[in-house]
C-alpha cells in the first residue's frame, strides 16, 4: 500500500493492492467517463454539418459562423474580458493587502474581517446575486457594467485573500524582521521583500479570479443591465431562446480555453514548487 517515503516525500507503493480492476478503480474510471462524456458529445457535434443531433458529415460551418457571424457574442466576450480583468485586479490588490494586514498586525475589527471574508465562498450564488440586486435597487445604482464589476470583485476577494494568506502562512516572519534589521523601512519591506515573496500566491489568486469571473452566470444574471451582457449570459440566452449549433463550436473553444488556463496554472504551480 501507499506510504510516504520520508527520504523524498514521494508516494511509494509498498503493498499488494494495485489490482487494476479493483472496485474503486472501476468507479473512478466511470466517474471520469461520466465527467467527460457530455463535453465529448458537444465537441463532436460542433463538427457536424447538420443542425440536429443526427450526424451528417464533418464540417467547420459552425466555427465559421462563430467567428464571422456572431457580433453580439464577441461584444459579450469583450464585456466578459473587461469585467474579468478589472474585478480580478481590484480583488487581487485589496485581498493581498488585507491578507498581509490580518496576518501580521493586531487591530480592532480583525476577526470581523476574517469571518466576513469566508461568507461569500459558502453562501449559495443565488443569495449573493439577489441580495446585491436588491441592494443596488435600494441605493438606486443603475445595473450595468459597474454593478457586475462590484459583484465579481466581491466573490473574487475571498479566494485571493485565502490563497495569499496560505502563502503568508509559509512565510517566515523573521524575514521581515531581517529586512528591517538590515535597514529597510516599512514601504521598502513591503515592496522589496513581502510582495516579491508572496508573488506566487498573489498570481494564483489573480488567475483564479479571472477564471471564476469568466465562468460566473448566476450572480451576473441578477446584477447585469441592458447592454452589459457577458459571455455566460449570451450562452444562457442561446440555450433558452433558440439553440443554434454555434453554441457547440463556442463550447469547444471555451473547453479549450479552460484546458489552456488549467495548463498554464499547472505549469505555473510547478515552477513555484521548483522555486520554493
Amino acid at each position: 500500500m501507499n506510504g510516504r517515503n520520508p527520504e523524498n516525500g514521494r508516494k511509494q507503493v509498498m503493498f499488494h493492492d494495485h489490482r487494476t480492476f479493483s472496485f474503486s478503480n472501476i468507479v473512478m474510471v466511470l466517474v471520469v467517463v461520466f465527467l467527460f462524456l457530455p463535453l465529448f458529445v458537444v465537441v463532436l457535434y460542433s463538427f457536424n454539418s447538420s443542425k440536429g443531433m443526427t450526424w451528417d458529415h464533418a464540417s467547420l460551418v459552425w466555427y465559421e459562423k462563430l467567428i464571422f457571424d456572431s457580433p453580439s457574442l464577441w461584444m459579450a466576450f469583450k464585456n466578459s474580458l473587461i469585467i474579468a480583468l478589472t474585478s480580478s485586479a481590484t480583488a487581487t490588490v485589496l485581498g493581498t493587502l488585507a491578507a498581509i494586514g490580518i496576518k501580521w498586525y493586531r487591530f480592532p475589527g480583525k476577526s470581523y474581517i476574517t469571518t466576513v471574508s469566508y461568507l461569500p465562498m459558502v453562501l449559495p450564488e443565488v443569495i449573493i446575486g439577489i441580495s446585491m440586486l436588491i441592494f443596488f435597487s435600494a441605493v438606486k445604482i443603475q445595473l450595468g457594467m459597474f454593478t457586475i464589476f462590484v459583484a465579481h470583485t466581491t466573490f473574487n476577494l475571498p479566494f485571493v485573500f485565502l490563497l495569499v494568506s496560505a502563502r503568508l502562512d509559509e512565510f517566515d516572519y523573521s524575514t521581515i524582521e531581517a529586512a528591517r534589521d538590515l535597514g529597510a523601512n516599512e514601504r521598502q519591506t513591503l515592496l522589496r521583500v513581502i510582495i516579491p515573496s508572496i508573488m506566487p500566491g498573489v498570481l494564483s489568486g489573480f488567475l483564479m479570479s479571472i477564471t471564476m469571473s469568466l465562468e460566473d452566470f448566476v450572480i451576473t444574471f441578477f446584477v447585469s443591465g441592458p447592454g452589459s451582457g457577458t459571455l455566460p449570459l449570451y450562452v444562457y440566452s442561446m440555450i433558452r431562446y433558440g439553440v443554434s449549433p454555434v453554441i457547440n463550436a463556442l463550447s469547444f473553444v471555451m473547453i479549450l480555453g479552460t484546458m489552456l488556463i488549467a495548463w498554464v496554472f499547472r505549469r505555473f504551480l510547478k515552477t513555484i514548487a521548483a522555486n520554493s
Binding site: 506510504g3 465527467l35 461569500p120 443565488v126 439577489i130 440555450i239 479552460t258
Partner: protein
Amino acid sequence: MSIKDGRRSSERRERRLGVSYAAPMGVWFTVFFIAPLVIIILYSFLKRGLYGGVEWEFSLTAYGQMFNPNFGKVLLRTIWISVVATAFCILLAIPTGYAMARSKHQTLLLFLIIIPFWTNSLIRIYAWISILSTEGFFNEILKSLGIIDEGLHLIYNHGSVILVLIYMYLPFAILPLFTTIDKFDFSLLDAARDLGATKFGAIRLVMLPNIRSGLLTAIVFTFIPIFGAYTVPLLVGGKDSTMIGNIIVDQVSKTRNWPLASAFSMILTLVSTVGVIWMMMSSRKEQAQKKNVTNQQKTEQNILDHHTTGGEA
C-alpha cells in the same frame, strides 16, 4: 521618550498599519456584501409594496406565505432532491477519491477532474440537454440501433435535475475527499487486515473515521450549492421540478414580492451557515484532539505568537 510612550506609539503604529492594510477589503465587504445581506433580512420582515419594492411596515406576512402548500411542496422537494444528489455525489466520490489517492498518476487524474469542473457551467448544462433531449444524442443512438422508434422523454423531470446536479457538483465532493484520503496512512489498512478485517471492513472501521473531516467538508460543499441551485432546475427541470432558488428568483423578477424572496433567502442562508459552522466546529475539535499540548508548550506558543504577530516595535 520613555519606554511606555515608545510601546504605546508602537502599538498605535501597529494598529494603524493593520487597519490601513485590511480596511479597504473590510469596507468593501461591509458595503457590498454585509449591507445587502442586512437589507434582505430587513426586507423579509416588511410588507410587500404595491408595485414591487417594500413598504416600511413590520410584518410577518412573508414568513406566513412560506407555509403556503405550494411553497411547502417546493421546499420539501428541494430538500429531498438535495439529499439524494448529495448522497450520490458522496457515494461516487469516496471510491474515486480513494482510487486517486492510491494512483501513481495523481496529477493527471486531478487534472481530469478539474477540467470539467472549470468548464463553464452553462456549457455543461447545455451538453446534457443535447444528450438527453427527445432528439438528443442518447435517443439518436438508440434509434439508430433500432431499439426505439420514438425519442424517450429523458429530460425536464426530477431525474434529469438530479442527474445534472450530480454531474455539476461531483468534483466538489471528490476534491476534499481526495485531499484527506491522500493524507491518510494506508499502512493502517494493512494493520486492520492483518488483524482480521476484510478489505471493506478495514475501510469502514479504520479509514472512514480517519477521513471524517474530509467527508464532512465534501457533504457541506456539495449540499449547500445543490440546495441553492437555480440554473439546473431552470434549464433541465420540468414544470414541477422547481427548487427554492427558482422561487426566490421568480419572486424577485416576476411577482416582485421582495419580502417573500428575502424570507426564502433567509432559509438558504441559515442552512448554509449551519452547515459551515458544523463543518468548522468539527474540524476544530479534531485539531484540538490532535494538539494535546502541555502547558510548557502553550507558554512557548504564546511567546512565539507574540513574536510572530506583534513583532513591530
